[in-house]
Amino acid sequence: MGTQLAVVRLSSRLVRRGAVLVALGAAVYVVVEAFSYEAAYPDAASRARLAEFGDEPAVRMLSGIPYAVDTVGGFVVWDGGPFLQVLAGIWALIATVRLLRAEEDAERAELVLAGPVTATRAVALQLGVVLAGCLLIGTGVTAALAASGAQAAGSVAVGLAVAGFGAAFAAVAAVTSQLFEVRRRAVGAAAIALGLAFLLRMVSNSSDERAWVAWATPFGWMDRLRAFGENRWWVLGLHVGLMAVLATAALVLRSRRDIGTALLASSDAPRPRLRLLGSPVAFAWRSSLGILAAWAAGLVLYTFVLGTLLVTMTDFLTEDPSYRAALELMGVDLTEVTQGLIGVMGVLYGLVFALYAAWRVGAARTEEATGRLEHLLTRPVPRWRWFGGHAVLTLVSAALLATVTGLALWAGAAVVGSDLTLADAVASTANTLPVVVLFAGLAFLVLGAAPRLTVGLTIGLAALAYVVQIVGPMLEWPSYVVGLSPFHHLAPVPAEPYALVAGLVMAGLGVAAALLGMAAFERRDLAGA
């Protein structure tokens, strides 16, 4: 009993900080959503218009089916539900793989299993810890909803659904942790499952005939819950059921393997591949290729689907003058409908590419934290060359991502016969690169000055800047506040010409930050984890 308590204590110590931060982030997000709802739709008439507007097919495809959007809770679920679920799901799958696979990779799990506790029992306890974290995140959502004046029962239902979503993907990650022997493969496989679940939701929302597909994805269950109206509690049983099935599968799989092995292990002695081992920069490129390809694949899939929806959306927009008026009020220039839409959506790519850049710099930091960097820096490799190599590769990778994303958008649009040109499609994604340079530069500055904060600080600031740009104008925040967000300075290319000065300033700041980071890195001690 004491041993099991110790396992729980150790596990919760490893993941609790992340859980608390995500719970707080989710709560803040809910409050911001609620505020923006009250500001944008202050009276019954505007709320009725919102319900009407949200029920149109194109909006449904992208944002889901609105339910009870005349209440603040219903609006938050409709507008922010997917984000909250993604947040809980990603935390849960990363935390689960951290406990179930990374500890084993690092040969620390055996210290625990040397105690009087079986491997399957340990897995069950660790999953329990992640489940508690999911419930904490759900509690954050519930508390923030209730504090924002949403109905209590609905708030509890939504909080439980967010927790259940996280728990389901914790169980998915528990299975992938048994299948793959490396942390990032286990995370990658679970993340692919999350992406597929999201795509299923888009498919289900794309037409009424396909609505049944919603039952096949945890994203759809949130909509079927009908919170702040019917409150169909039994839907939560789906979350519990999925989690129970997958968790049981993970336990069975764990009982069938030895520690340090995986059921889909790659060969221990593969044929040596000697390409891209010629220099530190070549090797950095080689090491990052797999993850770059994964990001590219995810973005290509998403934007291709988005591209195929373009014609439906533009047809809808051109046929509905009131909706056009509403969008024009939001600042969308609709003289060229397609370009206008593409331009507005472009900002999101900026955030995604910036997150990629933060991850990419984080990978460089991992080389330092693990001590592997010392193999290179104790050879005739000046620090600036290693650092600069990673900086160049980060920019090249981000530019590649922007290009393939634009290409996929164009290809999807071309399949359904849209008038979107290739140049416009790529321009809309490449437009965001100055922001990416800025955040990548920031990440390199942090790597040089406060290495342990590299990923967390950069991702936090990028997400904050994005939220400021999205909700700031709606809440009528003063322009100097909204202007702090780099995303605010992107023009909606191709509807408007590229904001050259702003782009140069942001890219220049990014390069300056990276150079400062390089100088700081030259002067400091290498730092372990």
Binding site: A269, P272, L274, L277, E374, H375, V381, D525
Partner: protein, 290 residues
Amino acid sequence: MDLPAISTHGLTKHFGPVVALQDLDLEVAQGEIFGYLGPNGAGKSTTIRLLLNLIRPTAGSAEIMGIPARDVARAHRHVTYVPGDVALWPQLTGTEILTLLGNVSGGVDAAYRDELVERFQLDPTKRARSYSKGNRQKVALVAAFMTRPDVLLLDEPTAGLDPLMEEEFQRIARDATARGQTIFLSSHILDEVEDLCDRVGILREGHLVEVAALEELRRMHTTVFEAIVDGELPDLSGLRSVTVTEPIPGGVRVSVTGSPAELLTRLASVPVIQLRSHEPSLEEIFLTYY
């Protein structure tokens, strides 16, 4: 005279309030195997990491083959390093890692590399993930020796090796110094240092408390006498040359610094059955510093 392989001048490193290394002045000649001794936390790794510019000195400076340690592009052409805890890229095989490190270093003697792999009985076809601590250390040792560098900085390099491999390491190290290469060996395995090193430095809490050739250390220090006597023991108190006295069955073990004349005078008054003396082991010397 030849340029020293390693020289430091007032080399100092503080981590916040903690003094990791204070005013280290040290010269290691080319072709020497220098043993760097001290318990955990004495500053051995700190010294090596300063020499490699992995951490920056609070004060002082260091040179490798006359090149400032901070000029890594030049200094690191002469030096390789084996860390105490070797971290490798888990997804790469031994061959891939040796190829990468060889390309980054330049000047690999491929035939010698293969010989080293053979002598350390390393299987380089395996992924690093499946390597034990000892095997990871072997990869780092092969990588360090394969370019035949002028200076090797080895931080407890044999901690994970079995006794047979440790012996192989000693042979390879002697071959290297026979060719004029210099080895700076940090260790707390005193037998290894005793077998291998020409000179040793002893470090205590960041301060270098002694640098001397092993022979010299032995001379400077105590000789141990064991006397078995028939009957009562003589009174050995009040002898300034005697540092340690401990009873053994039938007699006494005495450590003497300097001349044993006083001790012999006292012992002459009792019937001594047996008198043995030996030079102190490095361990016995080492312990006198703590």
